[in-house]
Symmetry: C2
Subunit: 403 residues, 2 copies
């Protein structure tokens, strides 16, 4: 009986582990694979045969895995380049050695490119019985075709909660106050937009809407004149019309050629202070906490992530199922619900789905009602958390790569 | 029938509103005061007769108030100075005008000094029928006499959760990684110490333990050699033996000439990078979120805060009860429980209770088991949160000063 391999890639999220839990659980319900191995540190670890056997995971561990953030199998930023054939040869060697029929790979658009590349390679070299299935994961929510990506909603919920609560906090004094909340979102404004779910954001700066300093300062002045306070949300990828990022950190690129961002909040603070537009600006950069805050998972999000893993496993019983990504589309009905679909991974690879321009209000005044209606069902509900009786903190699995 | 006035002062916390809810609820159960007014923006607003009538608050609003962070009555940093007699004269005038018998004042050691000063003034001038009762509130947990202060535990819980979860996140890659979590705590290390509840912190820098650069870098080196990763927590008030704050010192010493943005976390990053001790340091400053994150209130904390407000109201039926702060002491028994006590506000005013030195391990290696045993019961449990059916976010009261 052939085996399955499941692995994670790219930036972590607070529900990515639920997809792994779904694949493992599906195979327990219908053991079409002899073993379900976890590949540690994505492609990077698979090439080194770093495996952990997940096949017989207990029910309790499966539940705890779902409430554990980040990537319990470890992640990587190692890119499988088509021109680097040695990596492909090695990977198929490893798959043969462990009799891996299906690799489930969870990640963003780079990871879907890996799924597509491996599928192409197998076809080109007439390699049979090796299949590749992608599962979406990105807090940025920038994947094409699907309605939204697991991981986004929980980050969005944490951001909205934090916006609402820090707004309460910054309001308490009578003095003038400007608060800047910085969120992730390199090219897509979905996370910054989600702060608007709180209903308290005055100005929102998204990557999709070029930053015009004069227009922004004009709006800020109007707001401060009206109420002496302004609550601002800015995406890390906020940029001028010529593409220059507001953030100062621009020199280094990561291994995929992405600019390493961070600091648009501090950059905006400097800009406001230098313009003499406010006496006092406080910046909160949500940084790593926003994508790892599993204590505030959305129930919708973590459930969908788990079911998506199950769906991927179930679909893979079809021996022609390869080069696909399983995803979610929203049903066209009033009450929120989704259906699970599959699409070619190449439709996702290396594309970016921006926050829709028609949902962005002019002059940084936030997002439309339609945008709010779209986001609201995603953040609904809290999963029941299992607590550790000694620490009084949520139980979490020890990362498999540390065992 | 005389009235009561309740007001808030100093930095907000995520449970301070529960104390107000307790005072209001107690007066509904036993209406010894005709009205319970909320004084807006502390002493600053009271001097201007900025009142909001809380007497008949509905049960639902009372529950929602308890889950609302910050300070729903607004706060102030206005200090009532003994030499500024006009303020005292004015305050007693206002109390007379509204027939205020008892002022309940919620805050930290400055606020307890206000309670003491007003009590002294009344005694000195033989003013009868005006009484002053303090209720403790500070996330810093630096008040004398009491076991802990409402507000601390919820911030501690958020910090411990964030430490645990960002540790999961920073662990996922194979590369070397140093993570620095900055917490509040200018003079007392209680909040930074709480990160150790997560069990994943390698190095902890508290204000109570003078920072020795060589010792720190030596420990960091040892840890990185062992596992290629180091998770560090630093208090905003971290300082050298001569009292210089790390942030102040490092902004002068940064050899790259870069401006230091933010506090001790960024300063520590510069120090590590400049020493060549690590290739990569990520900083997360928890900033405002840590004291306002009511979505992760500790059930113990919010319940104690509410009961403390009730206790203050009930004790004030004694006409000699003035110049006191109501507080919590821990019962001397295995299972965690507290009793409510009263102490002279002057015992609290202008003192700082540090994190106990005997609980601090040498060489920044965290805190003792005794310290963990002390903190763990405080973060236990989650209150049932009431959600808004439209926004899917927790319901919160609209601040009274904005109505």
């Amino acid at each position: 009986m052939a085996n399955a391999l499941v692995a994670q890639s790219g930036g972590p999220s607070s529900v990515i582990n639920a997809t792994i839990a779904g694949v493992v659980k599906a195979n327990q319900l219908n053991p079409v694979y002899g073993k379900v191995y976890g590949g540690l540190h994505g492609i990077e670890g698979i090439l080194q045969e770093m495996f952990y056997d997940l096949t017989d995971m207990s029910d309790e561990e499966n539940l705890i895995l779902r409430q554990t953030p980040a990537a319990a199998l470890g992640s990587c930023r190692y890119k499988l380049l088509r021109e680097n054939e040695a990596d492909f040869v090695r990977l198929f060697e490893v798959m043969e050695k462990y009799d891996i029929e299906t690799l489930f790979y969870t990640g963003g658009n780079d990871s879907m490119d890996t799924v597509a590349a491996l599928t192409e390679y197998a076809e080109k070299h007439n390699i049979e019985g090796r299949r590749f299935v992608g599962c979406p994961k990105t807090v940025d929510n920038d994947l094409m075709v699907i309605d939204h990506s697991p991981g986004y909603a929980s980050a969005a919920k944490f951001i909205a909660n934090t916006a609402y609560q820090t707004w309460q906090d910054y309001s308490v004094y009578t003095r003038q106050e400007v608060f800047v909340l910085e969120t992730m979102g390199r090219d897509a404004g979905w996370l910054a937009a989600a702060a608007n779910l709180s209903g308290v954001v005055d100005l929102t700066i998204l990557p999709e809407q070029p930053f015009d300093k004069e227009v922004f300062l004009g709006e800020l002045k109007t707001i401060l004149e009206e109420k002496n306070k302004a609550y601002i949300v800015i995406s890390e990828g906020a940029r001028y019309a010529d593409g220059t990022y507001l953030s100062a950190a621009e020199s280094k690129n990561d291994t995929f050629g992405h600019a390493i961002l961070g600091g648009s909040g501090e950059a905006l603070k400097s800009l406001i202070m230098n313009a003499g537009a406010a006496e006092r600006v406080k910046v909160q950069d949500l940084s790593t906490a926003q994508r790892s805050h599993a204590t505030e998972q959305s129930l919708v999000d973590v459930s969908e992530s788990f079911k998506l893993g199950m769906s991927a496993h179930m679909r893979s019983m079809d021996k022609t199922f390869t080069g696909k990504m399983v995803g979610l589309v929203r049903k066209d009905q009033e009450e929120y619900d989704v259906e699970y679909i599959a699409t070619d991974a190449s439709n996702i690879a290396n594309h970016v789905r921006n926050f829709p321009e028609e949902w962005i209000l002019p002059n940084y005044r936030g997002v439309s009602q339609e945008a709010l209606d779209h986001m609201r069902p995603l953040i609904k509900g809290n999963p029941t958390i299992i607590y550790d009786e000694v620490t009084n903190l949520p139980k979490q699995v020890k990362p498999y790569f540390l065992r």
